[in-house]
């Protein structure tokens, strides 16, 4: 196992992960509106305060006149007058007309530097009658300015700062799929040739894969607590993930139970092939046909619905490669251990 190339790819995986950690935690989040108070409005004049997270959308001494806030009801726009703009907050006066197309109001905050910030269902007007907004209350859509935010992660409602978990959770599952696929191929080869060298590979792959599966479950559980409000929810994707990890733990238990039996390689391979087929069914087939909270349920149960933007891609792809290479490194370590143990035992 000598040679420069070995240390190059191993060092690169660590360097990539270091880059991912540095970039992932230091990149600011794009500004996004999180709340409007008061959220229940009546038919009179209100002072509306909007709060934002992420990067500041305005400078410390910004002029309120450079900004524009409009509320949308149905397909019509309601005018407001901004009185004060802070880095993370905006205050506006708004008069509510007696007729509105819809009682739910969406807020659009037009900024000169940070683009347009949107908050869906910002407030509700309980006692408005259904009808058009009178012309004196209406607003014209202002011109949108292109955002000048620099390198920053996109803001997603509910997910907010936790979008950084994308660089951990998703690549860990990818790494698990990759190494379990390797184990599957090794087990097929084991069944074909009945040779111990493939069994050593399959064992190493599953053992590494279980570690990454557990990491994926842990990071996923943390993420679920943050975005869905519970450590665990009943969801096809989550059930599949848990069953997969339990299944592969079963593989390790079966090996332990077989002990010194000379058929351990073949029986473990049989179980592993079965387990991988179940993994594909549970994580890639079933979630696509049933209701799921997990993103990407139509099509790829990974990350399609996150519409990765370029800044996130610049960190996400290195993360995938880095975790994958680290996982493969772990696998080779275990494999070499297995080989040495085997050659010592069969002496």
């Amino acid at each position: 196992m000598k040679g420069g190339w070995n240390w190059i790819w191993k060092g690169s995986s660590i360097a990539l992960l270091a880059y991912v950690i540095l970039r992932g935690f230091s990149t600011p989040l794009q500004p996004g509106l999180v709340s409007a108070t008061p959220s229940q409005l009546t038919l009179e004049e209100h002072t509306l305060t909007l709060l934002a997270v992420g990067q500041p959308f305005a400078r410390e001494n910004a002029q309120a006149s450079d900004f524009e806030l409009v509320l949308r009801s149905g397909d019509q726009l309601l005018a407001t007058v901004l009185t004060d703009v802070q880095p993370h907050a905006a205050t506006a006066k708004v008069r509510i007309p007696s007729t509105l197309p819809s009682r739910a109001l969406d807020a659009f905050l037009f900024t000169p530097d940070a683009g347009t910030l949107f908050l869906g269902n910002a407030c509700f007007v309980e006692d408005a009658a259904k009808g058009d907004i009178p012309t004196e209350f209406r607003a014209q859509a202002p011109a949108e300015a292109a955002p000048k935010l620099g390198f920053s992660f996109p803001y997603q409602p509910n997910i907010m700062e936790s979008i950084r978990n994308l660089l951990w959770h998703v690549p860990m599952w990818f790494a698990m799929f990759f190494i379990m696929g390797l184990g599957f191929v090794a087990s097929l080869a084991q069944l074909r040739t009945d040779s111990v060298k493939w069994d050593l590979r399959a064992e190493a792959a599953v053992r590494t894969g279980v570690i990454f599966g557990l990491l994926g479950l842990t990071t996923g559980s943390l993420w679920a607590r943050w975005t869905w409000g519970a450590w665990w929810v009943s969801d096809p994707q989550l059930n599949g993930a848990l069953v997969t990890v339990l299944l592969y733990s079963g593989y390790l238990i079966l090996r332990a139970a077989l002990g010194e039996d000379d058929r351990v390689g073949r029986l473990a391979a049989v179980y592993n092939v079965f387990a991988f087929v179940m993994l594909v069914i549970l994580l890639m087939v079933l979630p696509r046909y049933t209701e799921s909270l997990h993103p990407g349920k139509d099509g790829n149960p990974g990350f399609n619905s996150y519409d990765l933007d370029n800044s996130l891609r610049a960190v996400f792809y290195p993360a995938v490669i880095g975790w994958g290479a680290l996982c493969y490194w772990m696998y080779t370590l275990r494999l070499r251990m297995n080989r040495i143990a085997y050659s010592l035992l069969s002496r």
């Binding site: 196992m1 000598k2 191993k10 660590i14 992960l17 270091a18 950690i21 540095l22 935690f25 230091s26 600011p28 989040l29 999180v34 709340s35 709060l51 997270v53 992420g54 993370h88 907050a89 907010m160 700062e161 936790s162 111990v196 060298k197 943050w226 490194w329 772990m330 370590l333 070499r336 251990m337 080989r339 040495i340 085997y342 050659s343 010592l344």
Partner: protein
């Protein structure tokens, strides 16, 4: 800042108090520790492989 901290503890915490650097530091330390452990294991295995004349490939 205070309003944000009340509104949403993680958001306020993350960029409000500069604790993101601590998180980065801890994560990098763990990564460095892991890399060192794996590197040492790799070296040790190489030595064992040499001692162990001819392991099955």
């Amino acid at each position: 800042m205070h309003a944000l901290l009340l509104l949403n503890s993680l958001e306020g915490f993350f960029f409000g108090s500069g604790k993101a650097h601590v998180v980065t530091g801890v994560a990098l330390t763990i990564l460095a520790g892991l890399a060192f452990a794996m590197w040492r294991m790799d070296r040790r295995l190489s030595r064992l492989e040499e001692e162990n004349a001819n392991p099955p490939s």
